[in-house]
């Protein structure tokens, strides 16, 4: 089964990148590969490099990777209800990562002080650290998960659908907090989401994924306001009910995501694409450069560019 085939992107320091796609697009697999958390037997990185701060992560040993995870790169998981341990107090769970990555030899008291500081940072009163996850609401639990991820001042934070499980007003609160922390701490971020609204609010650059590939990548302005798009990107935007425009019908993308064990030949989007031609069915498209940093992987776009040139 091929997943996340041929992906490349560059994330600059202090930048936030959004990775957008639907269920099964391979967004989470991509995040897990960066952290090398894929199951050993089934999930292998068959090709490619992951350069973090100039270092090749795929060459790291397990012990080296353990030192990276949680300390230099940390992750916020999608579901705050299941990513916390129900039998440990939230304070202990935050302290755990501090104790594991204790390179500065903090004492117990210093760790406790840091736990208090982290809880306050994410907007939870420090006296609640001795409570258990079930005593918190969904939004509060997600704040605890964020506090754990931030504990060791990571250089890169990967957030996998950080607000999908939350109500809209709570989602806005959590995003506002993440943006504030990012500004204050200067962390680089990768936000994985299916929600273009979240991307518009938080990201500097965006990668649109379909069936394991990045089909379009660019600055947030290119994706949201640029004139030229991959048909899938255009379809995603058209599927969202627009609050400002009255329309009777939505324009969904017809068909469904292909099965990753049985991907179509040529362009993987061709069975659903309204502009599909013969070449799309047989030859996989390559990236077309629209301008610096804005790339689209589509035959139609490539041909249009050629005609213009």
């Amino acid at each position: 089964m091929h997943h996340s085939t041929l992906l490349s992107f560059v994330l600059h320091r202090k930048e936030t990148m959004g990775i957008v796609g639907e269920t099964g697009a391979g967004k989470t697999t991509l995040a897990l590969s960066i952290l090398q958390l894929l199951p050993e037997r089934t999930g292998q990185i068959t090709q490619g490099d992951i350069l973090f701060d100039g270092e090749e992560l795929t060459k790291y040993t397990d012990a080296d990777m353990r030192a990276v995870r949680g300390e230099r790169i940390s992750m916020i998981f999608q579901d705050p209800m299941t990513s916390l341990n129900p039998v440990l107090t939230v304070g202990k769970q935050i302290a755990e990562s501090l104790a594991l990555h204790n390179s500065t030899h903090r004492t117990k008291e210093q760790i406790e002080a840091r736990v208090d500081e982290l809880l306050e940072l994410v907007g939870i009163p420090a006296q609640r650290k001795n409570e258990y996850p079930h005593q918190f609401s969904g939004g509060m639990k997600q704040r605890v998960v964020i506090a754990i991820a931030l504990a060791c001042d990571p250089e890169l934070l990967i957030a996998d659908e950080p607000t999908t499980a939350l109500d809209v007003t709570i989602q806005a609160q959590v995003l506002a907090m993440m943006l504030k922390l990012k500004r204050e701490l200067g962390t680089s971020m990768i936000i994985i989401t299916h929600d273009l609204g979240v991307v518009a609010e938080t990201c500097d650059s965006v990668a649109i994924m379909y069936a394991g590939e990045i089909v379009e990548i660019g600055a947030v302005e290119d994706i949201f306001e640029g004139p030229c798009h991959h048909p899938y990107t255009a379809g995603l935007f058209a599927s969202i009910p627009d609050l400002d425009v009255a329309s009777d019908r939505l324009s969904p993308i017809e068909g469904i995501m292909p099965d990753p064990t049985n991907l179509p030949n040529g362009c993987k989007f061709h069975p659903r694409c309204p502009y599909c031609t013969d070449i799309c069915r047989s030859v996989p498209p390559v990236d077309t450069v629209i301008h610096n940093g804005h790339l689209i992987r589509c035959h139609k776009i490539a041909q249009e560019r050629k005609v213009q040139a």
């Binding site: 809209v168 806005a172 518009a200 947030v220 379809g235 058209a238 009910p241 993308i253």
Partner: protein, 317 residues
């Protein structure tokens, strides 16, 4: 399109808990006109699903009346309810847990017809099942497939076909698209709207997503902690939201464009308080930027503020 198909008067549902009574639905008055869609919007725990189940009498209310098609169905016993059940159906939120994993697609869709008398022979039922699958856009080759073989969008189509099987007049759609991807969500919303036109169905559409209800509803009811805080025709609600909670919900929607960037910073603070034994007064007051002493002490009734627009807020009394 005349008169209401479903009406509730002072509908209440309280659940007993160890800490006291939980006010899940508290004094809701709904009017759903024939052939129209009423959207019920609110955040998790506001009682919208309980309301949906209560109007179908899947849960019996603690107090209040439910008038369906001109009859007070609260007076009905179990036997009298049975023929009515054909006319009122529900589509559930989660297409993964609402289908029996050990039944194949055609059996799931046929089940309501096999357990209800009057649908003819096995053959008739099989024909109608095939026809229903076509109506909701399921390929005939999937008839023998099992739910686990299908994606969320197709499973939700099975749930819709099952709800349509008995030719209902009224369908409660309980978050039918929230578990689906956006491109699939649009397909299902279009399908629901087409079915409404073709079969003159009446919907109660429960959701947390205002952009979805705007698209599908004629009228919207906003719920907060079991109560209706505002109700209005869809266009009126979006052009002239009055209750501070409705405004907060509207401003919390993250739009997929860059013009509204920075919006998340103006959103309301705090979280939903407990629905157990709530104190009298406006339940939104602890989070409300305009709260004053007037909001506490007594319940704030819904007042007509414009044509068909009702708001429960001291600012509009």
């Amino acid at each position: 399109m005349s008169g209401s198909l479903l009406e509730t008067i002072g509908l209440k549902k309280y659940f007993k808990t160890s800490k006291g009574l939980l006010h899940a639905v508290d004094d809701i008055n709904l009017h759903i006109a024939r052939g129209e869609t009423v959207g019920v919007v609110g955040e998790s725990g506001c009682g919208k699903s309980t309301l949906g189940r209560t109007v179908l009498r899947l849960i019996d209310p603690s107090a209040g009346k439910i008038i369906f098609d001109g009859q007070d169905i609260m007076q009905y016993d179990k036997k009298q309810m049975k023929p009515l059940r054909r006319e009122m159906q529900i589509i559930f939120q989660d297409p993964y847990s609402s289908l029996d994993p050990r039944m194949c697609v055609s059996d799931i869709i046929a089940e309501p017809m096999t357990i209800t008398p009057g649908f003819g022979s096995k053959r008739d039922i099989r024909d109608r099942t095939a026809q229903l699958m076509q109506t909701v856009g399921l390929a005939a080759r999937l008839a023998d497939a099992y739910p686990h073989e299908l994606d969320g969008g197709r499973r939700q189509r099975i749930g819709i076909a099952r709800a349509l099987a008995l030719n209902p007049k009224f369908i409660v759609c309980d978050e039918p698209v929230s578990a689906l991807d956006v491109s699939i969500q649009a397909q299902i919303l279009n399908l629901l709207m087409d079915l409404q036109d073709d079969l003159s169905l009446t919907y109660m559409f429960i959701t947390h997503d205002l952009s979805v209800v705007k698209h599908i509803s004629d009228e919207i009811v906003v719920m907060y902690l079991g109560q209706c805080v505002e109700s209005a025709p869809t266009d009126e609600l979006f052009s002239n939201p009055q209750h501070p909670y409705t405004k907060a919900l509207l401003s919390a929607i993250l739009k997929p464009n860059l013009k509204s960037r920075g919006r998340v910073n103006d959103v309301i603070h705090g979280e939903v308080t407990s629905p157990i034994e709530p104190a009298p007064g406006c339940r939104f007051a602890p989070r409300c930027p305009y709260a004053s002493d007037k909001c506490m002490g007594q319940d704030i009734p819904l007042k007509n503020t414009a044509d068909r627009h009702r708001t429960a807020c001291v600012l509009y009394q």
